[in-house]
Symmetry: C2
Subunit: 330 residues, 2 copies
């Protein structure tokens, strides 16, 4: 990709809601090239600041029916005239060779809907890089006037935390469990969830879904109450993406929660906290990115081998590495 | 504290096992002063490399009887002629004003035993700083010929991970639980433990201890088997620090585990992995330490306020901060 000819014009066309301009803008912010980064910064600075989408984070392991859920849930919203953008955070996509949203045919109808915009995860190995680019893509989608930005993740490593830290609402999608075990959902993820949706509440799995939903409702009640929750939240509910049941109730529940948080001041406060979190994270990531340069990697390997052999204490090797890094910079 | 007059002499005296020299050496490595750091590096480089203590990490929340356990367990080992050093990792001590081992009277007999050496946690706010200094103190204790170095922590924040990453064995000390709940032990901590010791298995609490021990034994069986464990490990056992029961069996169990790991090559492999982990961690901590300088903190606050007001996007503020940092360096 070359440089954008007219960055102001691109920003104007994004603000007008042109999807090709939006797609081009996202490609620009996904680039790691220094000149692209400069253009991306100018693009972001010039965006209208008065638009605000509802940012929904969605996590669920492979097999819970995430694509089908997004298709059904997204179609319901799009048919009501709401404009919905779908983005993905998948730090594993570079390795696995295919991103979770790469196969757009899995969301065939939604991807062709005039009110929907679907963008696969960029191929990046670093979660830090993915996080930054996804936040910037969210900003572009908001500027393009989308009402809802849905950010999905498969929950590899820290990706759920990353998504929760950029969302107004965090949904956890689960499948009915076989036995009486809670599907090994990490406690930290449960604590981030605003709404747990047990999918596949249809056909043979309906009974299992009912039991799983009750189990999670019980588990949620054991968690400490968070200030940002009204009574009865976080909630566990059943949906069937295939039969499109429960989706309307889920959407109404989300709106109830969002309205309460807006009125109570939590919405604004959370956005400010998230901004400051990402500012500090970006600074830290920027400082650590010095270690990604090929020469720095080699030096780390060289010193690391001496540490492994016992020839160099870890702290002394680290001091040598830090001196090497500041010498390179000058 | 002034500079050490003769750093080679200090190293020699530490290697001879002189406790006053060891205490002086630890004070030196705990200092953040640049000239002290240089002397500390020279001291560490000159230490004998052929001595190896068994490093035992011990975690337990306040109230489980940690001091009493260390006193009883340490006395048993010291009376057998084993030399034991006790160090503490407590990132909260700077705030709370008192370190966990600060009150040596709680380990009155052990602190006066000729085979024991007890050192309170340094007063540092940063866990990174505490971690580095504790590892260096461990190295000094090993060079001084101690057979066992016990590193204790109260488990604030990430301190258990820090201790587990510098120990050959990781023990989790628990108190009998009241009801049928597993005392809210974080899953990650369970997964690090080699041995869970349920303390206070005496008097009125004995029945509760038995039940708690069985609960944890069951929970441990549900965890994925780790390559570094022989059959039957990790284990849960009962002890009474007050009645000094179960301590010999616990010590024999630790030795069985250690022998197995040595024979299977896990001991050496783990030490190498730990060294490489700390090398990389120290490099990262060194890069991030630029943010601790008072002027850098002020700049972060200034830009952070603009981010909070919505005047500056987080990523753009971060770029400005990174430019500020590299300008300051030149």
């Amino acid at each position: 990709m070359g440089l954008v000819a007219d960055i102001t014009d691109l920003g104007t066309r994004i603000a007008l809601g042109e999807r090709r301009a939006l797609a081009r803008g996202i490609t620009l912010i996904e680039s790691a090239r220094a000149d692209h980064r400069l253009q991306a910064a100018r693009l972001l600075e010039g965006l209208p600041k008065d638009r605000e989408a509802l940012r929904i984070g969605l996590s669920g392991t492979p097999g819970v029916g995430k694509s089908t859920f997004i298709e059904s849930f997204g179609m319901m919203l799009a048919d009501r005239g709401l404009r919905i953008a779908v983005l993905a955070v998948d730090p594993s996509s570079a390795r696995s060779g295919g991103s979770i949203l790469g196969d757009k045919t899995r969301m065939d109808r939604l991807s062709r809907h005039k009110n929907a915009f679907i963008r696969p995860s960029p191929s990046q190995t670093h979660l830090g890089g993915v996080a930054r680019r996804t936040r910037e893509a969210v900003a572009l989608c908001e500027a393009a006037g989308f009402d809802i930005v849905l950010i999905e993740t498969v929950g590899v490593g820290q990706s759920e935390t990353v998504v929760a830290q950029m969302a107004d609402l965090f949904l956890l999608l689960l499948a009915p469990a076989g036995g009486d075990e809670l599907q090994g959902v990490k406690r930290g993820i449960m604590e981030m969830a605003d709404l747990i949706l047990v999918n596949k509440a249809d056909g043979d799995l309906k009974a299992a879904a009912t039991r799983t939903c009750a189990d999670y409702a019980g588990a949620l009640r054991l968690l400490r109450k968070r200030p940002q929750d009204p009574d009865g939240f976080p909630k566990a509910m059943m949906v069937s993406a295939v039969e499109t049941t429960g989706l309307e109730t889920a959407w109404e529940t989300m709106q109830t929660l969002v309205d309460w948080r807006r009125d109570a001041g939590h919405w604004v406060r959370r956005r400010i906290e998230q901004s400051q979190y990402w500012f500090a994270e970006d600074v830290r990531a920027g400082l650590l990115s010095q270690l990604d340069a090929p020469r720095a990697r080699n030096e780390m390997l060289r010193l690391g081998a001496q540490v492994a052999d016992g020839d160099l204490a870890p702290s002394i090797a680290a001091d040598q590495m830090l001196r090497w890094l500041s010498a390179v910079k000058r």
